[in-house]
């Protein structure tokens, strides 16, 4: 249930992100989802890929500061209120979210990637409410 997300430190420098995507492309690593948190001077890129270990290795070899972070992915119906329902469950159980990003795949489904300090507890309560969670093996198919 836990998805291994790749986090990369990026300086705000022209072409730096392109260098990174080039390295992933050259190594045949598909990006399933990503987001960038940015400040004036730097950004943190968060990427979900099918092969985080390989991505970590090739990026480290090229001098990037890389870290694997555990996140969870909630799969929802792509319709009004679905995200609210999921978040309400977390809130009701006292689980706070460090950051999140979401994406829709097709018309039917949407996925919210969530980073919390207590991923295992989050999984437990979400499953209790019969929410569908993204499996590591599913990542390629997003």
């Amino acid at each position: 249930m836990i998805i291994r997300q790749l986090s990369v430190f990026l300086e705000n420098r022209a072409g730096r992100l392109t260098e990174l995507t080039g390295i992933l492309a050259d190594n045949g690593i598909n990006i399933s989802a990503f987001s960038i948190a940015d400040t004036t001077d730097f950004g943190v890129l968060r990427v979900i890929t099918g092969n985080p270990e390989l991505a970590e290795k090739v990026l480290k070899e090229r001098g990037f500061a890389v870290k694997i972070t555990d996140v969870i992915g909630i799969v929802m119906h792509n319709k009004p209120g679905a995200l609210h329902h999921a978040l309400q469950i977390l809130t009701d159980n006292g689980i706070s979210i460090e950051y999140m990003y979401a994406f829709a795949s097709g018309d039917e489904r949407a996925t919210a990637v969530i980073r919390t300090d207590t991923p295992n507890k989050a999984i437990e309560v979400l499953q209790l409410h019969e929410m569908e969670l993204l499996q590591a093996g599913d990542v390629y198919q997003i």
Partner: protein
């Protein structure tokens, strides 16, 4: 261990007598052989006969780096070219390079002071010394080389750079001592960690580090990374090269070999001689150098001298680690800033390493200071608030130490240039405008 107890433990009164005699003959030599000095002395109204004892030293005029440049290349030599057996030159980053010459006796004297220095670090003929200072025009490599050979140690003249080879020889040859710049020592230490080498296979026990300013925190870091005791050596090519002064095992400052190099501390503004214990600019007169004696040479290095007897038994004056060079000192919004201060802040913080760059600029007639610091892999958090927190902590610590607001910019690891020789720590864009 003391290499030459006669000179290193001489009673101070006796030493002063010796210095006076050496000074008298030196002034006679330069007056007779170097037109530049003769003119300078005549201008100051001084005849060689006026200099009789060491107390007469303050009567003499100073020599500066500019004088060396003006007399480029051989204008300050006090012996005929046939008697010069070696030439070295500075890198000349701030102008024309400065050239220094050595006679045969100068090379012997240099070997002697380096032998004394290495002995302070406990090096004997049983040691294998890896000399990773650059060989060439820079005095570091050959200077340490000759001193180590004089002791009878086995010398590996590997020179600087080629990190992989350095590590291989440390392991295969079992080097027990290494001499290089402190920044390169730290770099080697990191390389050992990165290459996952088994440090227990290394036999290093002493490091002789100098040629650039470094801090106590950096000493601790290098000692941990390389598993050795790190000693500070000081020197400058104008005076002789490495071996002007060196730390003994007590590590309470560097003993200056005063029978050859007479130190003074002066106020850099008024040029007045200051008493022991006072911070000021270090001045040297290398009284025994034949090829190129310098009369009261202003080093631009800022430090203090201490004359109380050291526990090691040596009577030689000790100089503190230089606070900085008056050249390196940046004046930012009227505040004196030394790159070494930034380094000590970063080393004190457990989350940072001393890879940094000071960028000074001027915006709307106001000086700005940006300090670039690399994000270390192990402290990288993917949460922006953590990174911002780290940035603010560094900035806060720097601001309180420097007394000046410093804007910290986090940069990717490995992006600040690593130096094999002297590290480039400052970019002052104000000078470019």
């Amino acid at each position: 261990m003391i290499w030459n107890a006669h000179y290193e433990c001489m009673e101070r009164e006796e030493l002063r007598k010796l210095q006076g005699e050496s000074l008298r003959t030196m002034v006679e030599r330069i007056y007779g052989n170097v037109p530049f000095y003769r003119a300078k002395l005549q201008q100051a109204g001084i005849e060689p006969g006026d200099i009789r004892t060491i107390d007469d030293l303050p009567k003499l005029p100073f020599t500066t780096k500019q004088d060396l440049r003006d007399n480029y290349p051989f204008g300050l030599f006090a012996v005929p070219q046939q008697d010069i057996v070696r030439l070295h030159a500075s890198s000349g980053t701030t102008g024309k390079s400065t050239v220094v010459g050595y006679s045969h006796n100068d090379i012997l004297m240099w070997s002697e002071v380096v032998a004394r220095s290495l002995t302070m670090a406990g090096i004997t003929r049983d040691d294998i010394v890896q000399v990773a200072y650059g060989y060439g025009l820079f005095t570091g490599g050959l200077g340490v080389h000759y001193g180590a050979e004089k002791i009878g140690a086995s010398v590996i003249p590997i020179s600087g750079g080629n990190t992989r080879k350095q590590l291989q020889l440390l392991e295969d040859f079992g080097s027990t001592a290494i001499a290089c710049t402190p920044s390169y020592a730290a770099y080697l230490g990191e390389a050992i960690v990165e290459e996952k080498l088994d440090r227990s296979k290394l036999k290093l026990r002493a490091g002789i580090f100098g040629a650039e300013p470094w801090t106590e925190e950096m000493r601790t870091q290098i000692q941990q990374l390389l598993g050795l005791k790190a000693y500070d050596i000081y020197g400058l090519s104008e005076v002789i090269g490495p071996g002007v002064s060196m730390e003994c095992a007590c590590q309470r400052g560097m003993h200056i070999f005063e029978d050859h190099f007479i130190p003074e501390i002066i106020d850099p503004e008024t040029c007045e001689v200051l008493p022991y214990g006072t911070l000021g600019e270090l001045v040297f007169t290398n009284v025994t150098k034949e090829a190129m004696p310098l009369m009261r040479y202003r080093t631009r290095d800022l430090t203090r001298l201490h004359a109380d007897k050291c526990d090691c038994g040596r009577t030689l004056v000790r100089m503190e680690k230089c606070v900085g060079r008056s050249d390196d000192m940046l004046i930012i919004r009227g505040v004196n800033v030394f790159p070494s201060q930034v380094e000590s802040v970063l080393l004190e913080m457990s989350e940072t390493k001393p890879h940094y760059l000071l960028v000074v600029d001027r915006e709307n007639n106001l000086d700005t200071l940006e300090i670039q610091v690399e994000v270390e892999e192990q402290f990288f958090s993917d949460e922006v608030k953590e990174l911002e927190g780290l940035r603010k902590r560094i900035s806060g610590n720097l601001t309180s130490l420097l007394g000046l607001h410093a804007n910290v910019r986090l940069v990717e690891p490995g992006t600040i240039e690593r130096s094999m020789g002297k590290a480039q720590r400052v970019v002052d864009k104000r000078k470019l405008k």
